[in-house]
């Protein structure tokens, strides 16, 4: 026998519904908490969504946020946020900061005078300072970008549910959508909680999470459908456990390889895309969890029509709606 790394033992008989009150409860609590945090803290929108200007500064001298702030004070730019950026990929003499200026009046992005004034003031503080990037979005465009982002997320949810509905049954589509909303909401909650910058690429990350999570869910559903046809008489709950157990090693393996690649990017990929990569990494963890613990619970709760080939509504076995609560008591 050659050596094999087994992340999951060959045969597993885990009852994934055993702790369903706990897992489903935790999921519900996390979703509610995310909504509360979103309302209380709000998202830390980048300039894509609220307009304004960000200037990245780089210098051989250490960043002195207070001095920067003092230098920009006389310019009367309104809300100015200065944050120092740290990254393991930076060299010793690489000191980076991010200056964010809120949108000025008018539809225009920013006037060249404003940028010149800011750059001039910062050069007074630190003559070696350079400006590797300057980005500016006008309030008109940022409003539209928010709209587009919301459309994108909604469109993806709708398109996915239609696809699942066509390929499976409507109950599966509902289960998939609930788990997707769960993933997106909790990821956004984390962004709100830690005030991580939320911009256009974060939306791309959210959609990627949706894609990955549905990918995972579909694999479980696919196996469930196969088992439903194979074992016509076994209760839905058992079949679900069987399906998840059978696909568990694949789920863990794929999440493992994806996470390994993403963690490399998270650590080594530089600070510019760290927010983006963080969102995807977090989302993949939560997506894996939700396809095991959320999607199929919803399907179980809704029940599945099991009389495809013999339409006999009188047969009690084929028309049984199993509720998760019933199942839990038995177990």
């Amino acid at each position: 026998m050659a050596f094999r790394l087994k992340l999951v033992p060959d045969e597993t008989r885990i009852d994934f519904f055993r702790w369903q009150f706990l897992t489903f409860g935790i999921s519900t609590v996390l979703m509610l908490a995310s909504i509360v945090v979103l309302f209380l803290n709000g998202l830390n929108f980048g300039i894509d969504f609220r307009g304004g200007t960000t200037i990245r500064t780089e210098s051989v001298q250490p960043v002195d946020v207070a001095a920067y702030r003092a230098a920009l004070q006389p310019l009367n730019l309104g809300d100015v946020a200065i944050t120092e950026v740290f990254d393991p990929t930076f060299g010793d003499d690489q000191n980076v900061a991010q200056v964010r200026i809120s949108a000025q009046d008018g539809a225009e992005a920013v006037t060249p005078q404003t940028i010149a004034a800011v750059e001039g003031a910062l050069q007074q503080v630190d003559p070696s300072i350079t400006f590797p990037s300057v980005e500016s979005v006008g309030p008109k465009v940022s409003g539209e970008l928010i709209q587009t982002a919301i459309y994108a997320v909604l469109a993806s949810l709708v398109a996915i549910s239609i696809y699942i509905w066509l390929r499976f049954e409507w109950q599966f589509a509902v289960g998939a959508i609930v788990s997707l909303i769960h993933d997106v909401l909790i990821t956004m909650g984390v962004f709100a909680l830690f005030q991580i910058r939320f911009d256009l690429t974060t939306i791309a990350a959210l959609l990627t999470i949706v894609g990955y999570s549905i990918n995972d869910t579909v694999v479980v559903f696919d196996r469930l459908r196969e088992n439903l046809m194979k074992y016509k008489a076994r209760p839905l709950r058992d079949l679900m456990n069987l399906s998840v157990n059978e696909t568990l090693s694949r789920t863990v393996m794929t999440s493992g390889t994806t996470l390994v690649a993403l963690i490399a990017l998270l650590v080594l990929g530089g600070d510019v895309i760290r927010g983006f990569v963080f969102a995807i990494t977090f989302g993949i963890l939560i997506g894996t969890y939700s396809s095991i613990y959320v999607a199929k619970n919803v399907v179980l709760w809704l029940g599945v029509k099991r009389d495809w080939d013999k339409a006999d509504p009188k047969d009690p076995k084929t028309r049984k709606n199993v509720s998760p609560f019933e199942g839990a008591e038995e177990g």
């Binding site: 990037s133 500016s136 894609g211 990955y212 694999v219 390889t257 994806t258 080594l268």
Partner: protein, 554 residues
């Protein structure tokens, strides 16, 4: 049993080799780029210098030379989103219409009475007539200036919308005409922006229309968005006006039909000019940088026949008088006419260096923008930041690749090796397709590639796990492998189609970097399904045929 037709094998291997061939130029990015630039330059100028020839020969011409385009966030450059103020054109159309209407209406003063233009919003022409009873006649006259508009929605629309209220008659462009005008304005602006950007000769700028009245401009390699704005924002309105006199007082009141314009190079010198120009830049057909008789930088220009005639007539009538060359309401120079210029060509010289002469020639050639542009979004990314991102992305991708490979080989042994080979081909095919279709790689696109590395093995994992299961029940390893591929298929298809849906939405709704992410994700899905299903299968079959194992371990 477990077998693949010979022609299928050749096809699979052929695709992999093509992938290798077309991905290859990206491994020698700088060299291939120099080669492509040199070829383009030799073709454009017809001159072959030793340096150009060396750069060209740095990459054999019989090999593919398409490269993955690097997006602005990786190469550095400037990005602008401009909104064309299309309504300005309505105003100038109405302003131009007024003198004509005045003439026509005045001719029938006896019936409709005295007329005057009254205050109205921009783009609307309001005329008050002295005799409101005869409004119908006035409307009839105005209607004579309206032309039928043909649109997609149907004919029968007029170019002018005319309304009356009491003694006031208002004229404005109809909605159909506005739509047509907007379209023309944008097309014209696009063309002018394109010409101006092209003139400075940067590599592969993106200039495209976005939505109804917006223009997206992305220029790699340019220093900053401000520089780009300056290049496209300058109106370059060139006129040749008769000079009435000069003054040192900026507040001096010029006479009727005269304007005051400052000199570009002499402070406190102002010219009083006739307002109506003799010739304008619109009559210019060519302008190029040159040197004047003293060897100083200058710009040579040539008029079209109309301009040449007007200029010839004016100069022959005004020998000894000065005339002013005015650019954007500043007098560049005011030479004295020494002789009649009937050839239709001339020279602008003044205090400028060769760069400025070049710029001026560019601006003159391109002409003026039909309407102003306001900039809604602008981004500048320095080339170093882009390079840092590329370097970091490369390292991360390499580490990610190695980690995934290690995990696969540890978990699936020999089959993990097969999956690794497939993953390698997957990357080659991904880069080959990106290069051939000329897709743009952005920073999120790099993340898409890394994500693909992680997710690409999913199809393999599905198959291998299935084979493991089938080994427990099926008769013999060959059958198990067969069943493994067969039964994993539906899950693989569903999983990848859902991801494709997401990628499509990202592509349609995303912009710039996000679009780049969608592109790499989409291509990554396609290539990973191909390599996972066909390449690993081919490898498995080939190994199986050679060693004929009685039992296998996955």
């Amino acid at each position: 049993m477990l077998q693949i037709d010979r022609w299928k094998r050749i096809l699979i291997l052929g695709i992999c080799l093509l992938g290798l061939l077309f991905a290859l130029p990206n491994a020698f990015y700088a060299r291939v780029e120099a080669h492509n630039d040199a070829v383009a330059q030799i073709e454009a100028t017809g001159v072959e210098t030793p340096e150009l020839a060396a750069a060209r020969d740095g990459w054999p011409s019989w090999l593919p030379n398409s490269l993955v385009n690097l997006g602005l966030d990786l190469r550095g450059g400037a990005h602008l989103l401009g909104e064309v103020q299309v309504a300005q054109v309505y105003k100038s159309r109405m302003d131009a219409l007024w003198p004509e209407l005045r003439r026509a209406l005045s001719a029938e003063r006896e019936t409709i009475g005295a007329i005057r233009r009254v205050q109205a919003p921009e783009g609307v022409l309001s005329i008050e007539i002295g005799n409101p009873d005869q409004m119908a006649r006035a409307v009839e006259i105005v209607r004579g200036y309206s032309t039928p508009v043909t649109t997609l929605t149907g004919a029968g629309q007029q170019s002018l919308a005319i309304a009356t209220q009491g003694p006031t008659l208002t004229v404005q462009l109809s909605d159909a005409e506005k739509a047509l005008t907007d379209d023309r304005t944008i097309q014209q602006s696009l063309e002018i922006v394109r010409r101006r950007v092209d003139e400075v000769g940067t590599r592969e700028p993106t200039i495209m229309r976005q939505g109804a009245d917006r223009i997206l401009i992305q220029v790699p390699g340019i220093g900053s968005a401000a520089e780009l704005k300056e290049l496209i924002g300058t109106t370059a309105q060139l006129t040749f006006n008769p000079v009435v006199g000069t003054t040192g007082d900026a507040e001096a009141q010029p006479g009727l039909g005269q304007i005051i314009a400052p000199s570009v190079d002499q402070p406190n010198l102002f010219y009083i000019l006739e307002d109506s120009p003799v010739v304008t830049g619109e009559d210019l057909v060519d302008a190029m940088p040159a040197s004047d008789e003293n060897g100083l930088p200058s710009v040579n220009f040539r008029f079209n026949p109309t301009g040449a005639r007007a200029f010839g007539a004016y100069t022959s009538a005004n020998i000894g008088q000065p005339f002013a060359i005015v650019l954007d309401n500043e007098v560049i120079s005011a030479p004295v006419i020494r002789s009649a210029i009937t050839t239709g060509s001339g020279q602008i010289s003044g205090s400028m260096d060769f760069d400025q002469a070049n710029r001026l020639a560019v601006l003159l050639r391109a002409g003026a923008l039909p309407a102003e542009m306001t900039f809604l979004e602008e981004r500048t990314i320095g080339p170093e930041l882009g390079q840092d991102s590329v370097d970091a992305g490369k390292i991360a991708a390499a580490v990610g690749f190695v980690a995934v490979v290690a995990l696969m080989i540890l978990s699936y042994g020999r089959f993990g090796v097969f999956a690794t080979v497939a993953l390698g081909f997957n990357m080659l095919l991904l880069f080959a397709i990106l290069s051939v279709i000329g897709a743009t790689l952005t920073l999120p696109g790099i993340a898409g590639i890394v994500l693909t590395i992680g997710m690409a093995v999913d199809a393999n994992v599905l198959v291998f796990e299935r084979v493991r299961e089938e080994l427990k029940t099926a008769r013999g390893p060959a059958r198990a492998i067969e069943l493994g591929y067969e039964k994993a298929m539906s899950a693989i298809v569903d999983a990848n189609i859902t991801t494709l849906i997401i990628a499509a939405i990202l592509f349609v709704l995303g912009s710039g970097p996000v679009k780049g992410f969608a592109v790499t994700l989409t291509i990554g899905i396609v290539t990973s399904v191909f390599t996972a299903l066909f390449v690993t299968r081919l490898l498995t079959v080939m190994w199986f045929e050679r060693s004929r194992p009685k039992q296998i371990e996955v």
